[in-house]
């Protein structure tokens, strides 16, 4: 009996996710040894590490669960343990609020999952994945469509697909940094695992529009995520929004794979899925690294608001270099890992546009265009994040006294930074592994597909003239740099360093307050995308006389469209409905007894009739 409820699977997909989880968990744990010590009491640290372990265990169980019953239990365990980690700073009101939003969204998702699983159970009479897969073949297409939509909403709420993403920017910043790294890096990926496992492996792709819907949602997630990240000034919130965007990029690969397999292009499907999985793994690593870096900054300065930081590159050089590496990877700069997977995804979309005909050609073109735009905006976003945080001059006293974090924290980040480089340079080796997993997912023997390899170049037999060689790219970049350096030296002689004040029109009172701000940096984007961001400002002048302004107060914000227009309305109408139910709550014992009596009477009459 116990066996039927607690079976595990260890197929390539499960093993791949187990490796992903462990790859992020171990450095995060090492990091937490240093991070927690400075912020919490011993009791709280023990509690935190216990919850952390429970959380990792639950995630491992989610990706290895062999039946839906067990899956659902550990899925909830994962939500619960992460909820307690989100509200770890229990004295902070914001944490409680974030935890509530997170829990509500998680429960909504689970409700949809339960509905889907009950449908599966009803059809198959079993909880086991394999039996369900056999039984679902004979399900009519309408029911399969319903099942797909239920699964998409259920897992979408956990993955943070727009418009179900609202919990990410609340929950991720409030958790301790090593937990945010895990939540943003790995936990939301378990939802991708769920989509792959249940939609592609168990349900099978039955209609073309499934893949199209996934791609459309992915495109929206990409743009919404990165635009919100651009205007955000809280470092961890910014990273959380960027997670929404990266989930979009991963889903672009997954959705493309769904379309290709439905139309009968197994090789392309494997490549698309491989790109998606590659980006999933990469995002886990560099987002983990960036969250850990944000934690180190918070540890050193006590602030996450990038408007209050600045000039940190001299104070905490190690953290700065790790953060720079992470930012470069997430901005898809060659030769780092983010570049590889985003390039592969882009390649897949182009191949789709080249191979398919009709409307799908245009569809893939648009998707590729949106991915390209996203890439550009990401670069801008992280130029802002890195530039304002680390460059320039310190904007507060605490930043001036910032100290480098301890060995454990540096170790945690160093491991991830190392992986960022390795996954970028070793693409030839890794693409085979990801191809193998993707081949398993798509039901194609990947060893039959040849990614033709000559020295360090991959090329696909079906898509000629496409090369990817990150080591060469690195070499090329280095050569360019050396060449430029030599040229400069030749023409202008050795560089002379002059230290002096910035010229300030003879005012001689420039301080860090005159520095370029993050708000200023993102202003062009606020203007260009004002139709979506809906920026507004608050101005307040206190004048001494007509000519002299004594105080000037200026604030600018962007509207959170989904929160303000959709969720607040939903919440409001729920409360109104609940309020209208208050009419029957008189508080009188007699009336309550009357309700009970009336119910019994009605039941009696009901029994009498039938």
């Amino acid at each position: 009996m116990l066996n039927t409820y607690f079976s595990l699977v260890f197929d390539p997909l499960a093993v791949f996710f187990v490796i992903t989880i462990l790859t992020i968990s171990i450095p995060s744990f090492i990091y937490s040894l240093g991070y927690l010590k400075g912020h919490y009491s011993t009791r709280k640290i023990v509690l935190g590490q216990f919850l952390f372990g429970l959380f990792v265990l639950a995630m491992l169980a989610v990706v290895t669960a062999g039946n839906i019953f067990f899956f659902l239990i550990v899925w909830e365990l994962m939500s619960l343990s992460s909820y307690f980690l989100v509200i770890f700073d229990t004295e902070n009101k914001k944490s409680i609020e974030a935890g509530t939003i997170y829990m509500v969204m998680a429960q909504i998702g689970t409700a949809f999952l339960i509905a889907a699983f009950l449908l599966m159970y009803q059809q198959s009479g079993s909880f086991d994945f394999y039996v369900i897969k056999q039984a679902l073949v004979s399900l009519p297409i309408q029911q399969k469509n319903i099942l797909f939509l239920l699964l998409l909403v259920g897992f979408g709420a956990k993955a943070g697909i727009v418009p179900l993403h609202i919990w990410l920017p609340y929950a991720h910043p409030q958790a301790p940094s090593h937990v945010s790294a895990l939540m943003s890096g790995v936990m939301i990926k378990t939802a991708i695992y769920g989509l792959i496992r249940f939609v592609i492996l168990i349900l099978g792709v039955n209609a073309l529009w499934w893949g199209e819907l996934v791609i459309v949602l992915a495109c929206i997630s990409c743009l919404v995520g990165i635009l919100n990240a651009l205007t955000e000034h809280d470092l961890k919130t910014l990273l959380a929004y960027s997670s929404v965007e990266n989930i979009g990029i991963i889903l672009l690969g997954v959705g493309a794979a769904m379309i290709f397999i439905k139309l009968g292009y197994p090789v392309l499907a494997v490549l698309a899925m491989g790109a998606g999985l590659y980006h999933l793994f990469n995002h886990a690593i560099f987002k983990g690294l960036l969250f850990l870096g944000a934690g180190s900054i918070y540890n050193a300065t006590g602030s996450r608001n990038i408007e209050k930081l600045g000039g940190l590159i001299n104070k905490i050089p190690w953290t700065s270099s790790y953060f720079l590496l992470g930012s470069m990877a997430i901005s898809a700069l060659p030769p780092l890992n983010g570049f590889v997977s985003e390039w592969l995804t882009l390649l897949v979309l182009f191949l789709g546009a080249l191979t398919l005909g009709g409307g799908l050609k245009l569809f893939f073109c648009f998707s590729a265009a949106i991915l390209a735009l996203t890439g550009g905006l990401t670069a801008a976003c992280f130029v802002k994040a890195f530039g304002i945080t680390f460059l320039g001059q310190a904007r507060s006293v605490k930043v001036e006294q910032a100290k480098e974090c301890g060995l454990a924290m540096n170790m945690g980040m160093a491991i991830l930074a190392f992986l960022v480089v390795i996954l970028g340079l070793g693409v030839v080796f890794f693409i085979k592994i990801f191809g193998f997993v993707a081949g398993f997912v798509m039901g194609v023997d990947a060893s039959l597909i040849r990614f033709s390899l000559n020295s360090f170049v991959i090329s696909l037999p079906l898509a000629n003239n496409i090369f990817l060689a990150t080591p060469q790219l690195l070499l090329l970049l280095l050569l360019c740099a050396v060449f430029a350096f030599v040229l400069l030296n030749l023409f202008f002689g050795r560089a002379k360093v002059l230290l002096g004040k910035t010229w300030d029109c003879g005012y001689y009172k420039l301080t860090s307050r005159n520095e370029y701000t993050a708000t200023g940096f993102s202003k062009p984007f606020r203007l260009a995308f004002s139709f979506f961001l809906l920026p507004y400002r608050k101005l307040n002048k206190v004048k001494e006389s007509f000519y002299h302004v004594k105080n000037f107060y200026y604030e600018t914000h962007t509207t959170k469209i989904f929160m303000d227009y959709i969720y607040r309305n939903l919440l409001g109408s729920t409360f109104r409905l609940a309020g209208s139910m208050r009419g029957i709550q008189t508080g009188s014992i007699n009336i309550y007894l009357g309700y009970i009596f009336l119910t019994i009477l009605l039941l009696l009459v009901f029994r009498g009739i039938f």
């Binding site: 208050r582 709550q585 008189t586 508080g587 009188s588 014992i589 007699n590 007894l593 009357g594 009970i596 009596f597 019994i600 009477l601 009696l604 009459v605 029994r607 009498g608």
Partner: protein, 211 residues
């Protein structure tokens, strides 16, 4: 014999509904319990069961003597006005009670299709006793009426168990008696507290819990 006893039970239930004073209410309850005890005793003799005999004696001791004594003591001690206050006056209450009895009768005749007339009647009366006890709880203001209503409902359940289903296991019956007794004691304490806190035992004053 049994037939008249059952009718007597129904009559006492009507008596409960139409009572105007607390002392009458308690007396009526005592009378109902007495009839129930006799009925149980007759049944026990007929069936030759010693267990049911003991239960009948327990009914006599507990519901006829002890509980009414406790309740009347409470009324004396907290010096509450003997008048029951109504949401529905006794005449209309009686009319409603008749309607409810009719409803219970039809219900019983649906359930006990294959039983003989006495069993059917017995079922109908026990349902009526439950319904009228509930009715009492709803339409009377004083907290003591709620206690009596609950006990009257319990009497109905007891009748159903003892006669229609030929008695429950002895241990279960004992447990129920103990429950009822403890329940009365606790409710009595509550009535004291309510009286002290709200100056009077009108449950209509207990509406501050509303959110």
């Amino acid at each position: 014999m049994e037939f008249f006893l059952i009718l007597g039970l129904l009559a006492s239930a009507f008596g409960l509904v139409s009572a105007k004073r607390l002392s009458v209410l308690i007396g009526n309850f005592s009378l109902q319990s007495l009839l129930l005890a006799i009925l149980t005793f007759v049944e026990a003799v007929n069936l030759g069961q010693l267990g049911l005999c003991i239960i009948a004696l327990l009914v006599l001791a507990l519901k006829v003597v002890i509980i009414p004594k406790i309740l009347s003591n409470i009324t004396k001690e907290i010096k509450v006005n003997d008048n029951l206050e109504f949401y529905l006056n006794p005449q209309l209450s009686l009319l409603m009670a008749l309607l409810l009895t009719y409803l219970c009768w039809t219900f019983a005749s649906v359930i006990f299709v294959e039983s003989d007339a006495v069993a059917k009647m017995c079922g109908a009366v026990s349902f009526s006793m439950i319904a009228l006890g509930m009715f009492l709880m709803i339409f009377r203001v004083k907290a003591l009426a709620q206690i009596i209503g609950l006990l009257a409902m319990e009497n109905g359940v007891f009748l159903l168990a003892a006669l229609v289903l030929n008695g429950m296991p002895f241990l279960v019956e004992m447990a129920i008696f103990f429950d009822v007794f403890v329940g009365v004691v606790i409710l009595g304490v509550f009535v004291y507290r309510i009286n002290r806190l709200f100056v009077g035992i009108d449950v209509s004053k207990l509406n501050r819990l509303r959110g």
